[in-house]
Subunit: 239 residues, 2 copies
């Protein structure tokens, strides 16, 4: 069944306009009487198309339920900004795997450092990628892609989390040895190509984060968040 | 320290010729007295450069040890041949994560079906990607990329494994519930874009494989093997 996201509060009806309406009417060639699922805030609304007007599709809500595809943990990925288009692939794949929020930030060893204007442009694209990956993988929410933060701001933002993990190439605990709750909030901070400075690892530790070591094999910067998200989802019973 | 693979048996000396010799002499501009590690069959040989001739670098072995970066399990990934260049990315990322052998095969829903000649060409490229990823991630071996098999042949090949897993989108056990040994051989069979036919799942089960279910979220064909390899390495204490 086609799956769309809506950011409007849902009552008895959902009115679809804009590109989603065109997609339903023209690309999918759907007709009155056919069924569509809309997701809002982790709830799946099962609807039936009642009518089409020129710019709008009117759908009647038949039933709703919490989205079955949402993981029981709210995982935030703090990702140091990598080079090239690697963040796009990271957003796509961690979204499929169940991440709930992605916070790009600038660490000491980041080579790519977009300014505000260039990040604003990228952000639009990042959000589109997150939405597409959410639709494709059947998510109940679209992960939030945050504004670009400094390392300090990201660390401060992370403090609220129940579990705070800091991936450090110079050693730490193995992920499998960490007690991860089956619900609540889990934050993971991952470096860009060059990893982290010792000073950054110490500040993360002082902020309450546990250093995590991913073993002897050196993972590419874009492989690491995908691997970590998969392992966290498995360890919390979500994969 | 620079790291190279050698396929020759190692005695007191290693003679390097061809592109590796050029790489050592010209790209890296190494000199006599400098140290290089060579990997052969999971053993790291720590050597020192003794002399250069026009086409050869002569290295004296100083010590050797089993490669610390090799996982304790020998994991074979049986991957149904995907479209485009997805297999290249799968080879690269699962090599970093610790896979030991990759067997591409053709299943009922494979869209891309290279013939023998076109696969032979691809295979050269696949093997180069595995070697590059092994060097970059510090592996002690280069994972073997096998000849393209039929589904039947791949299933038969898988039979020898201690643990046989079959990733099936229509349900099965969660990976975290499977008892995985900390050593020995683990085989995982993963579908292409369209997944597997019911008939194929039944034949895998008859061959002794356990159906594995990766949860409610639909993973892209190239995300699935990366996620599964990461989780297996974590569950066996290798990540």
């Amino acid at each position: 069944m086609p799956r769309f996201f809506t950011d409007q509060p849902v009552g008895d009806y959902i009115r679809v306009t804009g590109s989603d309406a065109r997609h339903i009417g023209f690309s999918l060639r759907m007709k009155a009487g056919e069924k569509i699922t809309f997701c809002h805030n982790g709830i799946d609304y099962h609807t039936v198309i009642e009518s089409f007007t020129e710019n709008e599709v009117l759908c009647r809500v038949e039933s709703s339920e919490p989205s079955r595809s949402e993981p029981s943990v709210f995982m935030t990925l703090y990702q140091a900004f990598p080079k090239q288009d690697k963040l796009e692939s990271i957003i796509q794949k961690t979204t499929e795997l169940g991440v709930s929020r992605i916070v790009p930030f600038i660490s000491a060893r980041c080579v790519s450092r977009p300014d505000e204007r260039s990040y604003a442009k990228k952000l639009e694209r990042f959000r589109r990628i997150a939405e597409e990956a959410s639709k494709q993988s059947g998510r109940g929410i679209i992960p939030e892609i945050a504004e670009l933060m400094t390392f300090e701001k990201a660390l401060d933002d992370m403090k609220k989390s129940d579990v705070k993990l800091f991936c450090y190439e110079n050693g730490g605990e193995r992920l499998g040895n960490i007690h991860l709750p089956q619900s609540g909030t889990i934050s993971v901070m991952i470096g860009s190509e060059g990893g982290f400075e010792r000073d950054e690892a110490e500040r993360a530790e002082a902020a309450g984060a546990v250093n995590i070591w991913l073993g002897e094999r050196i993972l590419r910067c874009e492989t690491c968040p995908v691997a970590v998200t998969a392992v966290i989802m498995s360890l919390t019973g979500n994969m």
